[in-house]
């Protein structure tokens, strides 16, 4: 019975963690699908999302700010007062963060990747590493070198209990939000005009261009959507662990990339599947093997997948043609 409970508890943690990985993994996969570039800076956009979110939350709730700018006080009173207020605050926080980080993604694409679109792939990857280094240290130098506490406005209350395992409201909110976002994205890509254009661009850039599709718009859109989803994951990550720091993006970024590869990079549903799988495997491993080695397990999975099924679980194997 105890074992079953442990498994159940780790499963709940795993699904929560996995939904965050899935969100980040989508950012990698959507960009890779269109421009065949591993957006190395994605993990830093995820981190930026958390920082922007914290900034917005501070403006909306900090009493220190309210005493300096009295006109903020009534709004803050509303946001702190009721459940409606908290929900509104969360919505504003997520929206602002998504938009800001999405625009950051577009700017990065414009200045760091677009000039290299015809260069060897290595050049773009190195440029991406450069962007990542820059963003990380910009936050370190200009915002904070220390961990910042990230308040959790949803609270620690328990939503429901399975067996003896308490599932917190925050976990439920994370999982539901992520699923809603995944479904919305899937619908957008498969049904909307822009989604169709993006799929066409990723299949054959030139033919899509000849058909009158604005290729740059498709690419820019991918660089908006991916980071925006990453920003949501960043904020949830902050609430879940209670603090954020300038280098928080590195490990989740690499693991989410693993998830994207696991599912088949370039394949949206694959990234979702890979994210959940990786989260669950990692949580079970840290529960049953060792927490110290849980990061090694993710990397070991990455290496094994690439060796035995380089196309990923849902991906097709692509032959290099002449």
């Amino acid at each position: 019975m105890q074992l079953a409970n442990l498994i159940l508890a780790q499963l709940v943690n795993g699904i929560t963690l996995g939904s965050l990985y899935a969100l980040i993994a989508l950012g990698y996969t959507i960009v890779y699908g269109i421009v065949l570039l591993i957006n190395f800076a994605h993990s830093e956009l995820f981190m930026s999302g958390a920082f922007v979110g914290l900034g917005v939350m501070t403006v909306l709730t900090s009493s220190a700010l309210a005493s300096k700018f009295p006109w903020l006080a009534p709004a803050q009173h509303f946001f702190a007062g009721s459940t409606t207020g908290i929900v509104c605050m969360l919505l504003i926080m997520f929206l602002v963060s998504m938009i800001v980080v999405g625009i950051m993604g577009m700017i990065i694409e414009r200045f760091a990747y677009r000039p290299l679109r015809h260069a060897p792939r290595l050049a773009a990857l190195i440029s991406a590493v450069g962007v990542s280094l820059f963003l990380q240290n910009a936050v370190l130098l200009w915002i904070s070198a220390q961990q910042l506490p990230f308040p959790n406005p949803i609270g620690e209350s328990t939503a429901f209990t399975i067996g003896t395992v308490d599932v917190s409201v925050l976990k439920v909110v994370i999982i539901i939000t992520v699923i809603v976002l995944l479904v919305a994205l899937d619908t957008f890509i498969s049904r909307s005009r822009f989604g169709k254009a993006m799929r066409a661009t990723s299949q054959d850039r030139e033919a899509a261009g000849l058909m009158g599709i604005d290729i740059n718009l498709s690419i820019t859109l991918a660089f908006f959507i991916g980071p925006a989803l990453g920003a949501v994951a960043g904020i949830f990550n902050g609430m879940y662990y209670g603090s954020i720091v300038f280098n928080m993006g590195f490990l989740p970024g690499i693991k989410a990339f693993t998830a994207a590869v696991l599912g088949g990079i370039g394949n949206l549903r694959g990234a979702m599947l890979g994210g959940f799988l990786l989260g669950i495997v990692e949580s079970l491993a840290s529960g049953f093997i060792s927490t110290g080695y849980k990061d090694v397990i993710a990397f070991a999975i990455l290496i094994l997948v690439l060796i035995f099924r380089p196309g990923g679980l849902l991906g097709e194997s692509v032959l290099e043609k002449v």
Partner: protein, 405 residues
């Protein structure tokens, strides 16, 4: 440098040997030998230390150059081999010193092959399954591998690595190499003619600086020979076009594996030297950021270029450390010594920007190798466009994307 018929690069580099050139080389040699002694003599102790670190980076950069510059495989976890070399060497060295203290000064010569073989063997073990992957996947897998090695070391794997506390443990020693004790105790000559406080002396930093310079020379020699060998030409062919190279009879996996394991071997030797020089290793020295810096070094200097690696190491490792050292020693007017670490932080920011700008503006690096320069920057922009389009077509089997821009 022996001249052979295929020795194109050497001939192009050297041109005719004029007296001026010989004089410049002699001047350079004197500078390399004397600079640390002079600075040490005037009490600027951090300068020999920084110069030794630059030398280590030159070795690392040249080793990684085999993988990235020659064979075109992006390795983002190169520091793992550095770590493996350092740890393997220190573990075996400390053990040998404990079992046979009489061997003392000679143990270093046992540590070198151990470190080199350990690193190269790991390189082969990782490379065999992984080198079949496409370039950007390889980058991520090597990155993952680098992190794995660091995490395993931090977790005190098999009780060997002592976790985050590092090696050697209390009571263990990295044996002092041949001659260091004697030189440290006997070379101490004040020379008043060179200034009141000038003392010609010899310490750990200087000793290892000279060892590192010798190792760098060895590395340069080997790397040059490799570049011009049959293997080196296979690497170039492979880098330019895998399919064409393979249809010319080059075994792709085997050739890549050679690059990977030779690169790892130099990484291991550099790691061992680092451990000896620092007298201490801990997982902190082997973070992902270090791997990025080594890549940065060769990108800034110019991929596949030996002078480029040296210039890159001076810019990446030397310049910031020197400014920081000056600031910390209170020798920069108007800068408080306590702000020295801020300078160190700004360098990462600047490097990040530098990498982006460099890729857009001068992808071939500051001092590109002639072969790579020709490849990365054709004379006419028009040719460059056509070539990149053809490359893109070849890789993706879809036609030129330039048409929509």
């Amino acid at each position: 440098m022996a001249e052979t018929v295929t020795d194109i690069d050497t001939k192009a580099d050297a041109g005719r040997t004029t007296p001026l050139k010989i004089a410049l080389w002699i001047l350079l040699a004197v500078a390399v030998v004397m600079t640390p002694l002079v600075f040490e003599g005037y009490g600027w102790l951090f300068v020999p230390h920084i110069m030794a670190l630059i030398g280590l980076y030159v070795m690392l950069a040249l080793g990684l150059n085999i993988v990235v510059g020659f064979a075109g495989l992006l390795d983002l976890g190169y520091i793992a081999f550095y770590a493996i070399g350092a740890y393997a060497g220190v573990i075996v060295g400390a053990w040998a010193y404990k079992s046979a203290p009489a061997l003392g000064p000679w143990i270093y010569f046992l540590m070198i092959p151990v470190a080199a073989i350990a690193a190269a063997a790991t390189g082969i073990a990782l490379g065999t399954p992984v080198l079949r992957l496409r370039g950007d996947y390889l980058a991520i897998v090597t990155l993952g591998f680098g992190e794995m090695v660091r995490i395993i070391i931090t977790n005190n794997a098999f009780g060997l690595t002592n976790g985050a506390a590092g090696l050697p443990r209390a009571g263990q020693f990295i044996p002092t190499p041949f001659g260091l004790d004697w030189l440290q105790n006997h070379v101490y000559f004040p020379i008043p003619a060179l200034g009141r406080s000038f003392v010609l002396q010899f310490d750990n930093n200087i000793y290892w600086y000279y060892v590192i310079v010798l190792l760098c020379l060895l590395t340069i020699f080997v790397v040059r020979r490799l570049d011009q060998s049959r293997l080196g030409r296979s690497w170039a062919a492979l880098r330019e076009d895998e399919v064409a190279a393979s249809s010319m009879g080059i075994s792709i996996t085997q050739t890549k594996l050679w690059a990977f394991s030779l690169g790892a071997l130099w990484g291991g030797i550099a790691g061992l030297t680092f451990a000896n020089f620092q007298q201490f290793v801990s997982p902190e020295s082997f973070t992902f950021l270090e791997s990025v810096f080594v890549v940065c070094t060769i990108v800034i200097g110019g991929m596949g270029s030996i002078p480029g690696a040296i210039v890159g190491a001076i810019i990446i490792q030397g310049l910031p450390a020197f400014v920081q050292g000056l600031a910390a020693a209170g020798k920069l007017p108007g800068i408080d010594p306590s702000t020295a670490t801020v300078i160190a932080n700004y360098r990462f920011l600047v490097f990040g920007l530098f990498m982006v700008v460099m890729m857009a503006w001068r992808p071939q690096g500051l001092l590109p190798s002639k072969r790579r320069a020709a490849e990365l920057k054709p004379e006419l922009a028009e040719i460059a466009d056509i070539e990149s389009e053809q490359l893109y077509d070849a890789q993706h089997d879809d036609a030129h994307p330039g048409i929509d821009d």
